[in-house]
């Protein structure tokens, strides 16, 4: 198992995160780190606490205990907009604003964080996602599920993040679109963007550098993909192998 990066060298370092909703505690001391340029897969079943953990990381839920360090700076008590300005953007499962046009969605991704030149960024993103350029005046609600995920990724990329956090990008998509999402994320990884992907679809292992397995609000495993596939219990749980 590779050692965790130190808070100073990691792009994102979460240490002993405890969080929940009201009286319900969901996370019980979760540790995770993402290094510059790597793709980390947070694997877990429904209800494992993946979304709660991501929301805590990006500041949408307050951590009750623990520390979050982003780019060497403690951000545990800062607002989500501050963390996003520091280079961590988030694509939720909802991903887009359905009533806004595609172009407005992307502009909001850039403008909400005070991007200096949203037009130049728009051209770059349309280069990455040509289908969005064709439909840029259409409402996001008119897009198919897969296209909405592409728009969600483009929106999150608009602010030029160092780390893109994605919550179940495969949710609700057909296998064909899941492959397309994986292909797009692989392209972003190859450009040097760090990715933290929460998923229950093991197809995302093919782009991952390291894997964290979350069960019942606790990290059950962390290591490389090879280490995970060598682990018999995980192999049975996630690959259906005996």
């Amino acid at each position: 198992m590779p050692p965790s990066a130190s808070p100073a060298s990691a792009l994102l370092h979460a240490d002993g995160i405890v969080a929940g909703y009201g009286t319900m505690q969901v996370l019980w001391g979760v540790d995770l780190d993402v290094r510059p340029g790597e793709t980390v897969l947070l694997l877990g079943a429904n209800g494992a606490g993946k979304t709660t953990f991501l929301k805590t990381l990006v500041g949408l839920i307050e951590a009750r205990q623990g520390h979050i360090v982003l780019g060497g700076e403690e951000v545990t008590r800062t607002r989500s907009s501050d963390r996003m300005r520091r280079g961590m953007t988030y694509m939720s499962e909802l991903a887009v604003f359905p009533d806004l046009s595609i172009e407005e969605n992307i502009r909001i991704g850039a403008q909400a964080l005070g991007h200096a030149n949203p037009n130049a960024r728009l051209d770059e993103l349309y280069g990455l996602f040509p289908v969005l350029r064709e439909k840029r005046r259409d409402a996001a609600s008119s897009l198919s599920g897969g296209q909405r995920k592409m728009l969600g990724i483009a929106k999150a990329l608009a602010a030029e993040p160092k780390l893109l956090v994605l919550d179940e990008p495969s949710a609700g998509l057909s296998p064909l679109f899941v492959k397309e999402v994986i292909r797009v994320l692989a392209g972003l990884r190859d450009r040097g963007l760090a990715l933290l992907v929460a998923e229950q679809n093991i197809g995302f292992l093919e782009i991952a550098t390291r894997v964290f397995v979350l069960e019942g609000g606790r990290i059950r495993f962390s290591g490389t993909v090879a280490e995970m596939t060598d682990n018999e219990a995980l192999r049975r749980a996630y690959f259906g192998l005996k």
Partner: protein
């Protein structure tokens, strides 16, 4: 008679659009039903009475005054009440109770200050500074009614409708042509996603709440001319009417309110013309019908399911 009812209905409808648009803006952004909406409308009417009767100015001057005052009141009220509300377990239910209470307080304080007697303004007072322009555009004399499609209508109705159109167009410009307006529509579209995108939802909501109250107050300025007079109790009826207009157009879609207002206005004047004793039932009947037949309103959202 039908032509008169239709044109008068259109004039009232445009005005009703202004009556409801602030309520819908606030609901769209904050998912909070402002049951005190009609009371801010009533307060706008009292500002108009003050500007006209006490200061002797054209009530049109009350429009910018009421807007600025109530945008500021809205900002203060927002930061005083709403963050605590949003932090509660059931903010929508609590908002109904809280704004109902606020409505009662506003009505009681207004009654203590001004009494229960009806307040009105001479219809000739509205737009007297524009009398020359009106004669130039519509002809006739400066004190007379306005001729439209061969029918005569009070000048105050036409001015109220015209100001309403301008106000609605400005709301459109705000929502579709400004950066803050785009962020406002984003919050209306998906509040949770707005937080996830790093939008300062509190600031957007506070501005929308202020504008919503400001628009209600502007509508209130014209209430003495459209309804003859106002009392502190006027707010309750105004809230029910606003709610019917908003639900008719589309709850959460401010520009749908324009359609809801026009449909309501024409229905109101047609019923008033042919079945006048039934006119007061109209908002309730329309509310029931629209909720049974098309709960999402006339401009209800259709979203593609992937």
């Amino acid at each position: 008679m039908l032509v008169y009812a239709l044109v008068a209905g259109l004039l009232f409808g445009l005005y009703f659009s202004l009556v409801g648009i602030g309520l819908n803006l606030v609901f769209g952004v904050m998912r909070i039903v402002n049951l005190a909406h009609g009371d801010f409308l009533m307060l706008g009417a009292f500002i108009a009475v003050g500007v006209s009767a006490l200061a002797g100015f054209d009530p049109l001057f009350a429009v910018p005054l009421a807007f600025v005052v109530f945008v500021l009141v809205g900002l203060v009220l927002y930061y005083l009440l709403v963050p605590r509300l949003q932090g509660s377990v059931d903010p929508e239910m609590l908002s109904i109770i809280l704004f109902f209470g606020l409505s009662q307080v506003i009505e009681a304080l207004t009654t203590i200050a001004f009494g229960t007697s009806e307040r009105s303004i001479d219809s000739g007072e509205l737009g007297k500074i524009l009398a020359g322009l009106r004669v130039h555009v519509f002809g006739g004399d400066a004190d007379g009614p306005v001729e439209l499609l061969g029918q005569s209508f009070p000048t105050s109705w036409v001015i109220s409708a015209a100001v309403s159109v301008v106000a609605i167009l400005l709301v459109y410009v705000y929502l579709y042509r400004t950066r803050l307006g785009t962020l406002t529509r984003a919050v209306m579209s998906r509040r949770e996603e707005a937080f996830a995108t790093g939008i300062n939802v509190d600031r957007v909501s506070a501005v929308a709440f202020g504008i919503g109250l400001g628009l209600a107050a502007i509508a209130g300025v014209f209430a003495p001319f459209m309804f003859g007079s106002v009392t502190p109790a006027f707010g309750e009826d105004a809230t029910v009417t606003s709610f019917a207009i908003v639900v008719l157009g589309s709850l959460g879609n401010p520009l749908g309110t324009a359609l809801g207002g026009v449909v309501y206005g024409i229905s109101y004047m047609v019923v008033q013309t042919y079945l006048s004793s039934w006119a007061d039932l109209l908002p309730y009947v329309l509310l029931i019908l629209i909720l049974l037949l098309r709960p999402s309103g006339l401009l209800g959202r259709r979203v593609r399911v992937a």
